[in-house]
Each structure stands twice: as structure tokens, then as C-alpha cells.
């Protein structure tokens, strides 16, 4: 397939996430603590090295009723049954065919294969119906974040990787 559709979304504004009691639904999984710890570290004020996704920008399109919706992908294999991980105002779905979030956008976080106990990840905002339109991807003003997540004892350590965009091809 030669042609892919990209959706460029530029938006912003404010929002907030309400706290919630940690909860897991669907098939029990080791993924939930990792993905919840990861998403909890992604949002913040804009940084010049792109180590956060702009908080208000993401919540404007991915938050409804105090819940910010995310989808975690890239696992091998992807679970056939949807796993929903919920904590502190986040709802993160993992699966081949999760239900569409009730928001215009979702935070899409992709994990790579585990290597030496750590996984690289990348995260960005995507349209919530992205699975219904194969090969559509979103480029947006909320930015992209890359990082690693690693288990140490009983904790997941999340580190964002600074990105350098300061030089331009003027």
C-alpha cells in the first residue's frame, strides 16, 4: 500500500484528571503497572527538549469525565482480549481491538520489545478512531515523547529521552 493518510492535529487548552483508585479490568497482566507508571510521567509543561507531551494539549482531546484515555501498543503478541488499566484518572487499553475511546483523541504509546529488562517507548496523540482507518496517523502540536521504562525491584523507572530539534534547515 503506497498511500497513507496522516492527520495533522494542532490543538491545545486546559484540562485536569481526577484521581482514582488503582484498578485493573480484563485479563490480569504484568503490563498494567508498567504502562500506568509510564503514562503518569508523560504529561507536563512544554519543554524545549521534548521530554513531555504538553499537558493541556493532550487533555483537551483525550480527556472526558476526568479520565484521560490512552492505548498501549507494540507488545508481541498483542493481547486478543482487551486489557484495561485504570489509575489516577488514566484509562489505558491494551489489545488488538479495544473499544474506541469516547474522546476525539487518545494518547497512543508504543512499546518496543524488552531488551535487557528495559523497553523503549514513544508516545503521541492519535485520533481515537485510528484503528478504523488503516494507515492513518496523526502529527500534532502536542508533540512526541520517547523514553525507556525499566523494572527495578518492584518499581518501574521511566526516563524520557531528550530530543534535539533546535537546528533547522533554514
Amino acid at each position: 500500500m503506497n498511500r497513507w493518510i496522516l492527520f495533522l492535529l494542532l490543538f491545545g487548552c486546559a484540562g485536569s484528571a481526577a484521581g482514582a483508585r488503582p484498578r485493573r479490568t480484563g485479563k490480569p497482566t504484568e503490563y498494567c503497572p508498567m504502562v500506568l507508571q509510564t503514562v503518569s510521567r508523560l504529561l507536563g509543561p512544554f519543554t524545549d527538549d521534548y521530554t513531555t507531551l504538553e499537558d493541556g494539549c493532550v487533555r483537551e482531546v483525550a480527556t472526558a469525565g476526568g479520565i484521560t484515555y490512552a492505548e498501549a501498543v507494540g507488545f508481541d503478541p498483542m493481547p486478543s482480549q482487551t486489557i484495561t488499566c485504570e489509575d489516577h484518572g488514566w484509562s489505558v487499553r491494551i489489545g488488538q481491538h479495544p473499544p474506541q475511546a469516547p474522546t476525539n483523541g487518545v494518547l497512543l504509546i508504543g512499546f518496543e520489545r524488552e531488551r535487557r529488562g528495559a523497553r523503549r517507548f514513544s508516545a503521541r496523540v492519535e485520533r481515537s478512531d485510528w484503528r478504523a482507518a488503516p494507515n492513518w496517523i496523526a502529527v500534532n502540536g502536542c508533540g512526541t515523547v520517547e523514553g525507556t521504562v525499566e523494572r527495578r525491584d518492584e518499581q518501574w523507572i521511566v526516563r524520557a529521552i531528550p530530543q534535539e530539534f533546535s537546528r533547522t534547515g533554514r
Binding site: R3, L8, L9, C13, E71, G74, S122, I137, G169
Partner: protein
């Protein structure tokens, strides 16, 4: 009525996944480092057509506007000195702080007002997220200038050939522009 379209490009590095969430081991990278030459020319050609469809009815001279990749304040200042533009269209990101444009580097509303004060620009359209807040502030700082803003989030549909990574189509979903300022009229009125 010379028109300058000053645009920025948000850096985005996008890893691709299948609709079932499997890693496709492919990444699409829209990078300011490589945004030059044919890549930029192709983007501007598609962007010009998209913008014409979006606000061409409001800005009659948009069809012959100058387009300038404007990553920072210095580039914008230089562009405004090179020709006596009367209309400026800004297309790019704006931060949620409500006072900062981010075409790539930060441009504050005060810096923009200062630059505009030394130019012939009488009308500015800010086409980005959060443009209402910074538009209102700019209208206060530069009361002689009409400022147009978007109240809704902007959705742009772009088609890319993923084998060549070349943009092949670009559309901006239509929405109204609201004007603030002395007469609150668009340049075409």
C-alpha cells in the same frame, strides 16, 4: 495588499503500528533538520492549496502570498522588513500558556506585537491551537491591528506516500475565524 504566510513545523517522530497494535518497525519523521529543498517546496505547494481553500475567501491576495518557513522571531522580523506586508497569516503551534507561539522556537505575544509595530501589517490571522488567548493578548498589545483567531482545534488531513515519505495531499478542516480589533473585518471585506 501583500500577504505573508509565516508557518512553522512541529517536530514529530512517529513510530507506526498496525491496526491490531503490532509494531511495523517503521518511523515517519517530520524533522526541521531536513525540512529544506524539495521537501519544503513540496510542503509549501500543498500547504498553499490547503490554506487557499481554508481562508482564501477572506484574504483575496492569498493566492499570490509569500510563504516563509518561520522557525523563530528573527526570521519573522527579517521577512517583515523585506517587503511592506499588510496581512500576516501565522500557521503553527501555540503553547497552552496563551502567550507564546511555537513555530519551532518561542515567540511571545509581546515580541510579535513589537515586530508588527515596526511593520506595515494591519491584519494578522493566527491559525493554531490556543489562538484565542494569544490573539486577545496581541489585540491588546497592538490595538491598531485586526487579529483573527480560531476558537476550535484545528484538524489537518495530510496524505503521505510512505515508500517515499513524500506528502501528496494536505487539507485543513474548515472552521470560522473570529476577528478582534479596530474594525474586526477581514482583508477581503
Amino acid at each position: 495588499m501583500p500577504v505573508l504566510v509565516a508557518y512553522g513545523v512541529p517536530p514529530n517522530k512517529i513510530k507506526l503500528f498496525s491496526i491490531t497494535g503490532q509494531d511495523l518497525d517503521r518511523t515517519w519523521h517530520f524533522d526541521p533538520h531536513t525540512f529544506k529543498g524539495e521537501v519544503r517546496a513540496n510542503f509549501e505547494r500543498l500547504f498553499r492549496a490547503a490554506l487557499q481553500e481554508f481562508i482564501g475567501s477572506e484574504i483575496p491576495d492569498l493566492a499570490v502570498a509569500d510563504f516563509q518557513f518561520t522557525p523563530d522571531l528573527a526570521t519573522l522580523s527579517t521577512a517583515l522588513l523585506q517587503r511592506r506586508y499588510t496581512t500576516l497569516v501565522y500557521y503553527g503551534h501555540a503553547l497552552t500558556d496563551g502567550v507564546t507561539l511555537l513555530p519551532l522556537h518561542r515567540i511571545t505575544a509581546r515580541q510579535l506585537a513589537n515586530v508588527l509595530g515596526h511593520s506595515g501589517v494591519r491584519h494578522v490571522d493566527i491559525l493554531g491551537c490556543n489562538s484565542s488567548a494569544i490573539g486577545a493578548l496581541l489585540s491588546t498589545l497592538a490595538p491598531d491591528i485586526v487579529v483573527g483567531t480560531l476558537r476550535g482545534r484545528r484538524f489537518d488531513d495530510v496524505t503521505v506516500d510512505m515508500h517515499t515519505m513524500r506528502l501528496t495531499d494536505f487539507k485543513i478542516a474548515p472552521q470560522a475565524i473570529f476577528h478582534l480589533g479596530p474594525t474586526a473585518t477581514s482583508p477581503g471585506q
